[in-house]
């Protein structure tokens, strides 16, 4: 949500590159880490994100009941000792469903962004570095994807893939969201590449016969690292919201795999008698997304003090 297209971020790369390392006794990286530690928002967000990861990994251990076992004698229970967050229409424990649901949200959030990264960054590198027809071609494709409103493309892709349950279903959602995010990384990296391509020391490297690949990896890539990291973190937040929205429209990972978006949608209908059933998944999504957003924002501030 907070990612910009081509307005600010290429400048960040330049800045990190330009910060004279001799001014203080620390490297830019250490400076950044120090700022990060001081930032309250980043700390807050980081804790939340970490908590989510822990919950997702240890879901089986943490969840008191099975998230999918229905129990006809305990439907629509109010929150109690046995069922801290109540039960839903089928008598399933909400707390366990939320805990297991974190897996889907986290998996989709992280995987989609990583996939977009692994496809988008090389595309951007190649486009920026080699220029010419390759650049034009790749950017045309990226523009085409960017031309679609994010939800529209994700919706059409999911309808084509046909939403299913389980691992395959989740992979489909990851794929759909990743495809939509790829151009952001490609553009980002390309901009970064363009900004330093003409630098003298790059030309010197070439003159010395250093291979393109090492130039790309050793010089170009590190400069884009900062914006990539920030975009990735914020991208996780966006992906989680997109996943929840797709689930709300019935196009996400299908039941019985527990998913926050699906539970939110299914239980909104009961919001009058059993409001907690819809509020808790909604809160879960909200807190998670907030965490990643705060952390990403803190990262951005740490890596680019000029913005403060």
């Amino acid at each position: 949500m907070s990612t910009l297209r081509n307005v600010e971020l290429p400048v960040v790369g330049e800045l990190v590159d330009a910060a004279p390392a001799t001014e203080r006794s620390e490297s830019p990286l250490a400076q950044a880490l120090r700022r990060l530690r001081k930032s309250k928002t980043a700390l807050c967000g980081g804790v939340i994100a970490m908590a989510l990861v822990v919950v997702a990994i240890f879901a089986d251990v943490l969840a008191p009941h099975s998230p999918t076992a229905s129990d006809q004698n305990h439907t629509f229970e109010t929150p109690s000792r046995a069922y801290p967050l109540g039960t839903d229409q089928l008598g399933r424990d909400m707390l366990s469903r939320l805990i297991h649901g974190s897996r889907i949200s986290l998996a989709v959030g992280v995987a989609s962004v990583l996939l977009a990264l692994f496809v988008g960054v090389p595309l951007g590198l190649v486009a920026g570095f080699y220029g010419g027809r390759l650049d034009a071609g790749i950017m045309r494709l990226m523009d085409l994807i960017l031309a679609f409103p994010i939800y529209l493309l994700a919706i059409i892709l999911m309808v084509i893939f046909t939403p299913t349950a389980g691992l395959i279903g989740t992979i489909k959602v990851v794929g759909a969201i990743a495809i939509v995010r790829i151009p952001i990384y490609a553009r980002l990296v390309r901009g970064s590449v363009l900004s330093i391509k003409e630098k003298e020391y790059i030309e010197a490297c070439r003159a010395l016969g250093v291979r393109d690949r090492s130039i790309l990896f050793n010089h170009v890539l590190p400069n884009s690292l900062a914006p990539i990291i920030v975009t990735t973190t914020l991208g996780i937040a966006t992906s989680i919201i997109v996943e929840a929205t797709l689930a709300f429209l019935g196009l996400g990972t299908q039941p019985p795999t527990p998913s926050w978006g699906w539970d939110l949608k299914a239980n909104v209908a009961f919001i009058h008698q059993n409001p907690w059933l819809a509020l808790f998944p909604g809160l879960a999504i909200f807190v998670t997304v907030l965490g990643f957003n705060l952390f990403g924002d803190g990262l951005r501030d740490a890596l680019d003090p000029r913005m403060k």
């Binding site: 949500m1 907070s2 910009l4 297209r5 307005v7 309250k40 928002t41 523009d143 085409l144 960017l146 031309a147 679609f148 409103p149 994010i150 939800y151 529209l152 994700a154 919706i155 059409i156 892709l157 309808v159 084509i160 046909t162 937040a237 919201i241 929840a244 929205t245 709300f248 429209l249 978006g261 939110l264 909104v268 919001i271 009058h272 409001p275 819809a278 909604g282 999504i285 909200f286 997304v289 907030l290 957003n293 705060l294 924002d297 913005m307 403060k308």
Partner: protein, 324 residues
Amino acid sequence: MRIYILRRLVAVVPTILMITLVVFVMMRSIPGDPVVALLGDAFTEEDAAKVRQEYGLDKPILAQYGLWLAKLAQGDWGTSILSGRPVLKDVLVRLPVTLELIVLSMAVALAIAIPAAIIGALRQNTWADYSATTVAMIGVSIPEFFAGVLLLLMFSVALHGTLPSSGWVYLPGTCPMVVCTGSVWANMMHVLMPAIALGIGRAALLTRLLRASMLEVIRTEYITTARAKGLAEKPVVLKHALKNALIPTVTVMGLQVGFLIGGAIVVETLFAMPGLGTFGIDAIIARDYQQVQGFALITAFAFVIINLIVDLTYSLLDPRIRYA
């Protein structure tokens, strides 16, 4: 300059066509077609074949696309397979609703962003600053539909129908229907909750941008000169900093339209609004090809044109950027 604008306008056309072609092909790759739903209980294989032939669904994809283009060139956007309704007419009926929703969402986003940014810029790095940014951050972390549901609960249920839960009343004079009451007040009541649900997500980005831009402007020489001249702090900030900061922000707002169109789909569905969002998603799910094409066309058109305007505004405002 004029030549540049003309060239960009011409370049817009292939982009729009490309988008509609991609949507066309994607829709055809969705398993299942609308013929079964169309024929309903009268379904027979022979009838299905006849219907497919009638609507050209048995021709190769590119040929079908060509046919669609040919009709489009004559101003005919086709008719919906399922309902027989002309697509263009329905699009024009729905467009003002979504347009109003998007514009007002942006207004909501600004209404949150401007105060937050001013607080942030004036009281930089204080608790007020952090709170303002956090409030904006909260807005961006709530999915639109959840915000919509909470608003619905609050205003329509808990407060007993203070705001209507669904439907639409057109602004006077714009109602496209025969049976219509136009009313500005009723229109505002209907659009308020959806606009808030959709707009709060955009506020965070705008806040950050506005605040950063304002800080930049504050640091420049001419503000310090103004201060040196003895002008009071607040009017200085508000008049000069805000005004200058709004310009790049507005251009970024244009880029946000993509998120807004997508979010509009969800919000319109929740609040049962007769806009383009519900038009599009219903068409996609029902495999109503013609309707989806109409939706893709108008969306792509709006999107591309807005991007163009944003780019042009950017270049106009910043004399340093020159386009050959």
